[in-house]
Amino acid sequence: MGMTMTQKILAAHAGLDRVEAGQLIMANLDLVLGNDITSPVAIREFNKIGVDGVFDKSKVALVPDHFTPNKDIKSAEQVKFIREFAMEKDIENYFEIGEMGIEHALIPEKGLVVSGDVVIGADSHTCTYGALGAFSTGVGSTDMAAGMASGKAWFKVPEAIKIILTGSLPEWVSGKDVILHIIGMIGVDGALYQSMEYTGPGVASLSMDDRFTIANMAIEAGAKNGIFEVDEKTIAYMKEHSTREYTVYKADEDAEYTRVIEIDLSNLRPTVAFPHLPDNTRTIDEVGDVPIHQVVIGSCTNGRIEDLRIAAKVLKGRKVKKGIRTIIFPATQKIYLQAMREGLLEIFVEAGAAVSTPTCGPCLGGHMGVLAAGERAVATTNRNFVGRMGHPDSEVYLASPAVAAASAITGKISSPEEVVGS
């Protein structure tokens, strides 16, 4: 029996010729990542192990992005603790305000992940790098600590769901709609403990930004990782951003899958996840009348340049409806600069939106756009759990940047087709 992409990568990093689903392995790590919420816990655990330094100063990345720029004294103390650790241990990839970004947009942009890598990150959306054909998965702080010390982590080799994409996306439909559609179909635990492996002729039509969005939300289906087959676009992206050697793994013809799902991208519609689970999805045609109070465009899911371009296309020459707070967060400094050069930031400000420095803030109800009781937000983020963006009686509707921007103009969940015309 053959192996899946994920199984091949794990086997190679465990020094084994082959692995099988269910097998426990110890794998070598190419990158260990943490943020300002998870790293303080990890550093304290790391210090208990009693090693002098991290396993490789170039293979640890610390990105304070959640409560930064620091929202209060307690968060400032947490980041100070991480900063001092980074200085003391000579961590090469510590990213300070001014050069930082939301970790899952920043790490690929800095060329720190390439196809064939094994990456763990103490952040659940670490699965984003599967877009590059890497095995990357979220872990907790203790795994991060052990990973920083030893350069290794234990894994149970996952089974996989094969997702065959055909066709190409219609106008106003993006990677976000693809992943919301899939989660709506299989449920928030539909891929529990498994890999979601994307293949098929439709992959070629998806941009890298779409693929990052799709891989990013694998965790919202309970998956261990989401991974795309490497193609010319992946290789072009890696060559542009990284000098590292990459390895391309393809699944064997006879690899075993628990389920095969075929999706014709051409048939998808803009999709919205209603409170309070990402699998509670409806197409834009089934949404009905949902008035909103706030729009958030950004996050590790949808804060990349294409996301901002599509939002600008909708907002250009229009005005955010009076009383609707619209906040836009380019995910990294590089994306921010690019958006500035392309005139996107000007479009946003003229439309009446606020533009922020990169931060995870509003997505997790941290800062920069927290919701009051009874308020509703349309957000391009990844979770709509109870209390996720603020008060437990607030509501989050997950959508694409196109739908979020259109909703900002009408003040209710709306289709971009309706606002701009198709």
């Binding site: 816990v41 670490t126 203790t142 941290g366």
Partner: protein, 161 residues
């Protein structure tokens, strides 16, 4: 271990176990004051040391925050039984030494307030109130070693010595 059950439903996510608005601190005892706050405001008042948490499918879904199993442990919960666990929560619980057990039958049958005893190594769960037993999935040997060591850090230290 033996304790009284506090029961919840499906998809209990880490945002309701410990809301992110409190994560500007990382002291688990301090954070435990807010454990389950957005789902059950009364939890912190009724939890007693040794109590057992029972829930449905996909327990601990969402964020990778280790603070979630951390505050459950710091609240005095001795074991969590669920139909299924989200994978990062599952890992984290083992790594920090919070006993957990997957057992759909027990998760469905046990009710809030039942008195339950658990052998995490054999996987046997006994409902003393209802006089029933359920067979949970015991951990593979490697994970039992981590649990016995009291978590991953001690395990790594022991291996290193």
């Amino acid at each position: 271990m033996r304790g009284t059950v506090i029961k919840y439903g499906d998809n209990v996510d880490t945002d309701v176990i410990i809301p992110a608005r409190y994560l500007n601190i990382s002291d688990m005892k301090e954070l435990a004051k807010h454990c389950m706050e957005d789902l059950d405001k009364d939890f912190v008042n009724r939890v007693e040391p040794g109590d057992i948490m029972v829930a449905g499918k996909n327990f601990g879904s969402g964020s990778s925050r280790e603070h979630a199993p951390g505050v459950i442990k710091a609240s005095g919960i001795s074991c969590v039984i669920a139909e299924t666990f989200a994978r990062i929560f599952f890992r984290n619980a083992i790594n920090i030494g919070l006993p957990i057990m997957e057992c759909p039958e027990a998760a469905r049958d046990i009710e809030d307030g039942d008195e339950v005893s658990i052998d995490v190594y054999s996987g046997l769960i006994t409902n003393i109130t209802k006089n029933r037993t359920y067979q949970g999935t015991p951990f593979p040997g490697f994970m039992q070693d981590i649990m016995r060591a009291g978590g991953l850090i001690n395990y790594v230290k022991e291996k290193g010595e």
